[in-house]
Amino acid sequence: MSDLPDTFDYIVWGAGLSECILSAALTRAGHSVLHLDSWQQYGGAWQSPTLRDLESQLAEVAPGARLAWAQPAEADAWRSRSRYFCLDLSPRLCFCRGDTVSALLQSDVSRYLEFLPVSGLYTVDEAGCLERAPVQRGQLFRSDRFSLVEKLHCGRFAEFCVSCQPDRDLADAGSFPELLARHGLRSGPAQRLFALAVGMSPPDSPAETVVAGIRRFLASCGAYGPSPLLVPKYGASEICQAFSRHAAVWGAVFHLGADPDRPPAEARRRLIVSDRFAQSGWLDLGRKRRLFRQILVTDGSWAPRSEDQQDADEVRLAVCMLPGFTRPLLAMELPPETGCCPTGTRVVHLLQPCSPGESPPTDCVQCALAPFTDLRFERLPPCCQCASEPTAANLPTETALDKNLGQSDSTGQPADSAGQPADSAGQPADSVGQRADSMSQTADSVSQPDDSVGQLADSARQPDDSVGQPADSASQPANSTGQPADSAIQPADSASQSADSAEQPADSSGQPADSAGQPADSADQPAAAADDQQPFRKPSCILSVCFVQDDLSDCLNPGALPDNVTVVPSLYSDFDFDVAFQRAKELFDELCPGQEFLPRPPDQEDLVFDQPASEAPTVNGDCGEGENEGAAEAAPPATPAAEVTPNGDSSESQPENAR
C-alpha cells in the first residue's frame, strides 16, 4: 500500500461497462484513476461468471435469484465443467455500425476482443412456432412465408426506411401497422419481420420508433458480413475487461474486492459512483425499470441447424411479444463457439424488459417467460415458487399442476426414456458430454418416481432457502392478486403438455419395436440413419436461473448529489451495448470538455522506447491485505502495467486473460 498515492484525480466505484469505459477514457486523457469494486470479478452487473461462481455468488449479484437444475443428480457433473461456462448476467448485442463498435475500433480496444455474428434471427408466429425472419435478401428470396408481391414490398419498404427523412416523412405516419399497410404489407409475417426482428420494438408502437430501429438495423448490415449484429466471445464482461486492461495499460489502478466503507484513497477531482454504490437518497427508485432475466443451459438448439451454416453453429436471436408485456422479449441462444458453454450445450439468455410502472402478469420470472420457454424446451424445472404457494386459493391449481406433473411422469416419462437410446443412437457424433448426459438421463429415468418426489420435496423446501422469499412472502397480497394471471398461464402449460403428448406417439411408435427386442430395433436404426433429415428434437433444459435486474438509469436524483460525485447507472434495459457507451461519452465530455474521447493509441510496431529496457527501473509492488498492486516492470505497455488481479480464481473465470 505504501506506493499507492493518497489521492487520485478520479476514483471510480463499480466495474460495470460504463464505468470501465469512463476510466479508460479518463486515463487516456491523462488523468490518474483508481477503479474499485467490492466484488471479486470484473464487470459488476455485467460479469460473466463460471458455473461455480454463478452458483456461489448469485445471491450477492442478483438478490432474489432462483437457480434450479432440471436433474439435480447431474449438477455435480456439470459443476466439474464449470469453467467452460461464461454465464452472462447482462448479455447484450453490438450493432456493427453502432457506437460500441466505433469506440472499440477508435480506441483500438478491439484488439483484446473477438466477436461472432448473429446469423439466425427469429420471431414467433401465431401458432407459437419459431419463424425465421428473412432479414437478408437471400433469406427473403428463399422464404415461403411471403408471397411474391410481398417480397417485393418488403424490399421496397426497407428501402423506404433507409431513404426516408423521419422528421418529414413520418410526422403523421400513425402507428407502425398503418405505415406498413400503406406499403402493401398487411400479413403477420411481414409485421413481425419489420417490427420485431428488424425494429426490435412492439409492433403497435408509433411508426417513428420502429422505423428508427429499422434504420439502425439496416445501417449496420454488411459492415462485417451480412449480419448487422455481433456478440462478444466469452461473454459481455469481456468488453468491460478489455477497457479495464486498456485503462491499466495507460496507468489506471484497479482494485477488486475493495471495502466500500474504507476507500483507500481520496479523489482530487471527482468521485464517480455506480448506482450500486449510491447512497439511498441519491436515487429515486420509483422510476426504476425492471428487467426479467432467465438463463437456460440446454442440450441443443431451439432450431434445426440452418443450411447455409455448415461448419459452425449460429448465434441465434428471437424477438417476440409475450402476453402481459408491452415490450418485446429478446432471447439469445449462444452456441459453444462463443466460448460461453461446453460442446453439446447452448446458453439461452432471455431478456424481458418492463416499462416503468408496468405490472407484469406475474412477479415470477419463470412463469412470466413460460409462454416462450415451454414451447421451446423440455424438462424445464418446475416453477417451485408458484407451485408451492401455500395460500388456499392456490391449492387447487397446485393439485392440478401436481396431477399434470404426475401424468407426465407416469405416461410421458417411460416413453421418453424408451425413446432415449434411439435418440442417442441417431446422433453418433455427439460429444462425450452428451453421452454422459443421456446416460445420466437413463439413470434418472430409472429412478424417476423418487426423483420427482424429491423435486416436490425440494420445492417444498425452496421457499426457506431462497433469498427472495422474505420479499415474496411480504408481497403475498400482490401474489394473490396475480393469481388469475397464474391460472391464465396454466392453459398455456397444459397446451404445451398436450403438444408434448402429441409428440410422444411418434416417440412411442418406436417403443414397441424397442420392447419387442433387438432385431426390430436394429432394423429400425439404419432407416433412421439413412434419413438425412433427422426429426428435430426439442432441446432439454439442464439448468435454469431466473432473476430480476433493475434499470436505474432514469432514477438519478441530481439535486441530492454532493458536488464532487457523479452517479453512473450500472445497467440499461436496452438490448445493445450502445447506451453504455453513449452515457460514458456524455459523462466524459462533461468532465473533460474539449478532450478527445478514447483517442487511438499508437501502433505497437511504431513504439520506440526512450530508454533501453535494462535501464528502466523496476518497481517492486508490495502485497498487502490480499491486494496486489501490479508491478510496472520494464514490460512494454501492451501488457497491463498496473492491473490488479484479485486472486488465483481469476485465471479460471477469465479465459481472455489466460490467452
Partner: protein
C-alpha cells in the same frame, strides 16, 4: 505513481518507416534474385543430368530444386516457369522409380533363374530331396511376389506423398493469391496425376467451396470445380444443391445461376422437363420479386423462357445463269462456270464444314431418280458474317458453281444426307428459279398457358416495381408476336439512353422479322419502308430480292451484309441518314445494281460525297435524286 512509468512511447516518423521499408524491400529483391538463379541452374542440371551425373547426385539436385521452387512459389505463386520445373521434376522422379522397379524385377528374375538352374543341378544330384526342394521353391516364389508388391506399394506411396505435398503447396499459394493461374493449373495437373482412386475429391470440392465463399467470381476456382466434378463424376443433383446454397448466400451470384443452367442441361440432356422448368421459374421469380434491381435472376429467367435456338436448315435456293440475257453480269471470273446456285442456310457455316457435307445432283428433265452427282466445286462464301479475311470464314450465303448445266432441268442440293430440312431442289427454268422453303412449325419451349401466366406475373412485377430495363426486356421476350414488343423497345430506348443503339438493333430485328412473316405475292420485291430501322438484320433471309425499299428509316450506314444482295437491281434508300460515300460502300459488291435512290439523305446534299460514291460504284448504277 506516474513517475514510475518509463518507456513512454514515441511514434516513429514516417520517413523512418519509409527508409526501413525500402531497406527491407532491397534485401528481399537480392534474396529473390539469388533464389531464382539457383532454381534455373538446378533445372538446367536436372535436364542435362541424364548425361553424366551419378543417380545420387541427380536425386539431390531434384530434391533441392523442389525445395528452392517451393520457397519461391510460396512467396510468389505466379511464376509459371517454376511450376513447369516442378512438374518436370516430379515426372522425372516417377519415371526413375518405375525404372528402378523394372530393374529390380529383372534382377530378381535373373536370380531366380540362376537359383533354379542350381536347384536343377542339385535335383539331378539329389533326387531324393526333390519334394522338399519344390516346397521351398514355392515358398520362395511367394516371398518374392510379396516383396514385389511391397516395393510397388512403397514407390506408390512415395509418389502419392510427393503429389499430396504439391496439393498442400498449391493450397498455400492459393491462399496468398486465389487467382493464380499457375497454382490452379498445377493443382489440376496434380489431381489428374493422382487419379480418382487416390485423390481426395470431396476435400477438393470443400476447398473450392471455401474459395467461392470468399470470392464468388473466382473463375479459376469455378473451372477447377468443374474439373473435379468431371474427374469424380459428381452427380448434377449434388452440384445443384451447392448452387442453391451459393444463391441463398447471394442471389446476385451470376456464376451460380449460370452453373445451374449448365447443370440442368447436363441433367436432362438438352431439354428441360416441364416440372423442372416450373420449379426453376418459381425460384427465379422469387429472386426477382425479392430484389427487382438484381440482374442475375432476370437473366436466368429469360434463359428459362427462351425458345430453343433455330435448327440449321436451308432457307432458300436461287438458280443463276450466265446465259440468261437479263443476267448479263460478270458475277464470276471463272469462264468455265456458266451458272451457279445461291444457297442460304439459317445459321452461318464454314467452308470446311460445308465441303464435307455438300451434295449437288443434276436431275435431267423428267427424271426424278438420283441423277448424276456433280463433281465437287469449291463453294464460295458471299458476305461472310464472321471470320472475314481469314481462310475459313463463316457465312449464311454460299454460291455453288455449277458446270455443264445444259439440259438439266432440276438441281438437287443437299447438305448432310439424312435431314429433310437440309435438302431441296431448284429449277433451272425461268419461273421456278427461286425456291423458298417453308419454315417448319417449331416446337416452342413453353406451352401457351405457361407463357401467358408468366407474362402476367412479369407485367404485375413491372407495374409494382416501375419500368426497369430488365423488366421491359423480359416482358418483350415473353410477348407472342414481334410487333407487340416494338413499343416496349421504344420505351427501353427512352429509359436507358446509353444502350439505345442496342435497343434500336433489337427493334429493327423484330420489325424486319414481322415484315418477313407477312405473306407476299411477289417475293422478289421487298419493302421495309417506314419501320424506323436503325440496322438491317436478317439480310440473308431476303438476299434474293431484286427490288428493296428502305425509304423512311433511320439508317446511318448500309451494313456489310448488303454485299450479299446478289440480285439487287433497285435500291430505294430515300429519307434515311446516310451521311457519306463510306456509308454506302458495301453496295459496290452488288453487281446487278442499276438504280439507287438517295434523296433525303445528308449524302445527297454534298456533291463531293456523291462524286466519291459514283466512283465506288460501277458506271451502270444510276443515282437518282428527284
Amino acid at each position: 505513481f506516474r513517475t514510475a512509468m518509463h518507456g513512454r512511447p514515441r511514434v516513429r516518423t514516417t520517413e523512418e518507416q519509409r527508409a526501413a521499408k525500402a531497406k527491407e524491400r532491397a534485401a528481399k529483391v537480392i534474396e529473390y534474385r539469388a533464389a531464382m538463379d539457383d532454381a534455373m541452374r538446378l533445372r538446367q542440371l536436372c535436364q542435362d543430368s541424364l548425361a553424366g551425373l551419378e543417380p545420387d547426385e541427380r536425386r539431390k539436385n531434384r530434391e533441392q530444386l523442389l525445395r528452392v521452387t517451393q520457397a519461391l512459389l510460396q512467396a510468389n505463386p505466379d511464376i509459371g516457369t517454376l511450376w513447369a520445373a516442378r512438374r518436370e521434376t516430379l515426372q522425372q522422379i516417377e519415371q526413375q522409380q518405375q525404372q528402378q522397379q523394372q530393374e529390380q524385377q529383372q534382377q530378381q528374375e535373373q536370380q531366380k533363374q540362376q537359383e533354379q538352374q542350381k536347384q536343377q543341378e542339385q535335383q539331378q544330384q539329389q533326387e531324393q530331396q526333390q519334394q522338399q526342394e519344390q516346397q521351398k521353391q514355392q515358398e520362395q516364389q511367394k516371398q518374392q511376389e510379396q516383396q514385389k508388391q511391397q516395393q510397388q506399394q512403397q514407390s506408390d506411396e512415395a509418389i502419392v506423398a510427393q503429389l499430396s505435398n504439391e496439393l498442400q503447396l498449391t493450397a498455400a499459394c492459393l491462399m496468398q493469391n486465389p487467382k493464380s493461374y499457375g497454382a490452379w493449373h498445377h493443382r489440376a495437373w496434380t489431381l489428374d496425376r493422382l487419379g480418382v482412386s487416390r485423390a481426395d475429391l470431396a476435400g477438393e470440392l470443400r476447398l473450392t467451396r471455401q474459395f467461392l465463399q470468399r470470392d464468388e467470381r473466382n473463375f479459376h476456382c469455378w473451372d477447377h470445380r468443374r474439373h473435379v466434378c468431371r474427374l469424380g463424376g459428381v452427380p448434377a443433383s449434388e452440384e445443384l444443391a451447392f448452387s442453391d446454397k451459393l444463391l441463398t448466400a447471394n442471389m446476385g451470384n451470376f456464376s451460380a445461376w449460370h452453373y445451374r443452367s449448365r447443370l440442368l442441361l447436363a441433367q436432362t440432356d438438352g431439354g428441360l422437363t416441364a416440372q423442372t422448368r416450373k420449379r426453376e421459374l418459381d425460384t427465379a421469380l422469387s429472386a426477382m420479386f425479392s430484389d427487382p434491381a438484381d440482374t442475375a435472376p432476370w437473366a436466368y429467367y429469360r434463359w428459362l423462357m427462351s425458345p430453343p435456338s433455330e435448327p440449321q436448315r436451308l432457307l432458300w435456293l436461287r438458280y443463276l445463269s450466265r446465259n440468261d440475257k437479263s443476267d448479263n453480269t460478270d458475277w464470276d471470273n471463272d469462264e468455265n462456270v456458266s451458272s451457279c446456285v445461291l444457297m442460304c442456310l439459317s445459321r452461318p457455316v464454314t467452308k470446311a464444314w460445308l465441303a464435307k457435307l455438300l451434295d449437288i445432283r443434276l436431275l435431267p428433265a423428267g427424271n426424278n431418280g438420283d441423277g448424276c452427282r456433280l463433281e465437287a466445286e469449291d463453294p464460295v462464301p458471299v458476305a461472310a458474317v464472321s471470320g472475314c479475311g481469314s481462310a475459313n470464314p463463316a457465312a449464311h450465303l454460299w454460291r455453288l458453281p455449277i458446270k455443264a448445266a445444259d439440259g438439266v432441268e432440276v438441281i438437287r442440293v443437299s447438305v448432310g444426307a439424312d435431314s429433310t430440312l437440309m435438302s431441296s431442289t431448284v429449277s433451272t427454268a425461268a419461273p421456278g428459279r427461286l425456291r423458298l422453303l417453308p419454315s417448319p412449325t417449331q416446337p416452342s419451349a413453353v406451352d401457351e398457358a405457361l407463357r401467358s401466366e408468366q407474362l402476367n406475373l412479369i407485367r404485375q412485377l413491372n407495374e409494382l416495381a416501375g419500368d426497369s430495363r430488365q423488366g421491359l426486356l423480359t416482358e418483350a421476350a415473353l410477348l407472342p408476336t414481334p410487333a407487340e414488343a416494338l413499343p416496349l423497345l421504344d420505351r427501353l430506348a427512352q429509359l436507358d439512353p446509353t444502350r439505345s443503339g442496342a435497343y434500336g438493333h433489337a427493334r429493327s430485328r423484330l420489325a424486319v422479322r414481322a415484315r418477313l412473316q407477312e405473306a407476299k405475292s411477289e417475293p422478289e420485291t421487298l419493302s421495309l419502308a417506314g419501320l424506323g430501322l436503325t440496322a438491317l438484320p436478317l439480310m440473308h433471309e431476303f438476299a434474293f430480292v431484286s427490288e428493296l425499299d428502305l425509304s423512311d428509316n433511320r439508317l446511318t450506314r448500309l451494313p456489310g451484309q448488303v454485299a450479299g444482295l446478289q440480285l439487287l437491281q433497285t435500291l430505294d434508300a430515300r429519307r434515311n441518314r446516310l451521311a457519306d460515300a463510306d456509308a454506302c460502300r458495301p453496295l459496290a459488291a452488288c453487281r446487278r445494281l442499276r438504280v439507287l435512290r438517295l434523296t433525303g439523305n445528308p449524302l445527297a446534299e454534298e456533291a463531293a460525297a456523291l462524286a466519291e460514291l459514283s466512283g465506288q460504284l460501277s458506271e451502270r448504277v444510276r443515282i437518282e435524286l428527284d
